[in-house]
């Protein structure tokens, strides 16, 4: 088996990956039990402020979850033993602003949009990422060129 290793991604690399995806998994704790569910998101970068926007159905498990959440995106190529993952930790809050304004600027374009009228914002406190590197792989350019 080819030896592979994990390397930490920089904040900028994590952000670059967050910009390219539009679906991830949110980890929540509901009644003391962890849950993880896929969800569409929109990365919002404004005035040095960074957050993720979600839309979900009012009253569902994500809407009712504790404020402390985790959010994960990944991309894995099992056949080449390559991949990466980015994990955010932060607080989830309800957004009460006018829906029209939110839709105009921050809509995560959920694949399932009907009744997704609860808008939530995740303010990350930590962002970290890892990438699995195959030992035999020679980078032709500086690694940032691949992101």
């Amino acid at each position: 088996m080819t030896e592979s290793w994990l390397e930490e991604l920089s904040q900028e690399q994590c952000l670059a990956l967050l910009r390219t995806e539009n679906v991830g998994r949110i980890g929540i704790i509901l009644d003391g039990l962890p849950l993880v569910l896929p969800i569409n998101y929109e990365l919002v970068e404004m005035n040095d402020r960074l957050c993720l926007m979600f839309r979900t159905r009012s009253g569902n498990v994500i809407d009712r979850a504790a404020a402390e959440v985790a959010f994960e995106i990944d991309g894995v190529d099992p056949s080449h033993r390559r991949g990466w993952s980015v994990l955010l930790r932060g607080t989830l809050q309800h957004v009460t602003a006018d829906n029209t304004l939110l839709r105009a600027h921050f809509d995560p374009n959920s694949w399932l949009s009907a009744d997704r009228d609860a808008w939530l914002v995740l303010e990350p406190s930590t962002i970290s990422g890892r990438r699995l590197v195959e030992a035999t792989l020679k980078w032709a350019f500086h690694e940032s060129a691949y992101l």
């Binding site: 980890g27 704790i29 402390e68 190529d77 949009s113 997704r116 890892r130 699995l132």
Partner: protein
């Protein structure tokens, strides 16, 4: 502010075009047979557990040996001490444009069987679970599925059959 917003919309434009949003009525529950089938036919999932009051989500490789999910991962020194009395495990896949998708959620207790001497645990450790990220301190974890549920929308190739199949096992390959 306007320029930042503009940048943000440019990033969106580089993404694959999203298929027309699916009506909520199209989101259906998977029955346990479908959920087991999807769990058994995939090998990358995400393990979630609470650690110091916060949820942690980690991508892991696994093999499903009904009703047990066998995971191999390097948790790192810190997470090795995490309590695994209740964990969640999730697997999903979707079409590139979001025209179909499914997710399966398993919940139950997890046990670290890295050094367990029972015959059953020794047997589980012979399963072909490739650790996604090989580490010095590889752990074998066993999640006993107590709750199994799932959702789907659109035409799921693995359940409905289709000439157009996902090009990779995981959604990450196709995006």
């Amino acid at each position: 502010m306007t320029s930042k917003l503009h940048e943000s919309s440019e990033h969106m434009a580089q993404r694959p075009t999203t298929a027309a949003s699916v009506s909520h009525d199209d989101l259906q529950s998977l029955d346990s047979t479908e959920a087991s089938l999807l769990l058994a036919s995939h090998h990358l999932g995400r393990l979630a557990f609470a650690f110091e009051g916060w949820p942690v989500v980690l991508p892991v490789n696994y093999v499903f040996d009904d009703p047990t999910i066998v995971i191999r991962t390097d948790l790192g020194a810190k997470l090795s001490a995490a309590p695994f009395h209740a964990v969640a495990f999730e697997v999903d896949d979707s079409g590139t444009l979001g025209e179909w998708g499914w997710s399966v959620l398993a919940q139950g207790p997890a046990f670290d069987i890295t050094d367990a001497d029972e015959a059953h645990c020794r047997l589980l450790r012979t399963l072909p679970v490739e650790p996604w990220a090989p580490g010095e301190r590889d752990h074998w974890l066993m999640v006993t599925t107590v709750n199994l549920s799932g959702k789907r929308f659109g035409r799921v190739p693995e359940l409905d059959g289709s000439a157009v199949r996902s090009s990779g096992e995981q959604s990450g390959d196709t995006r």
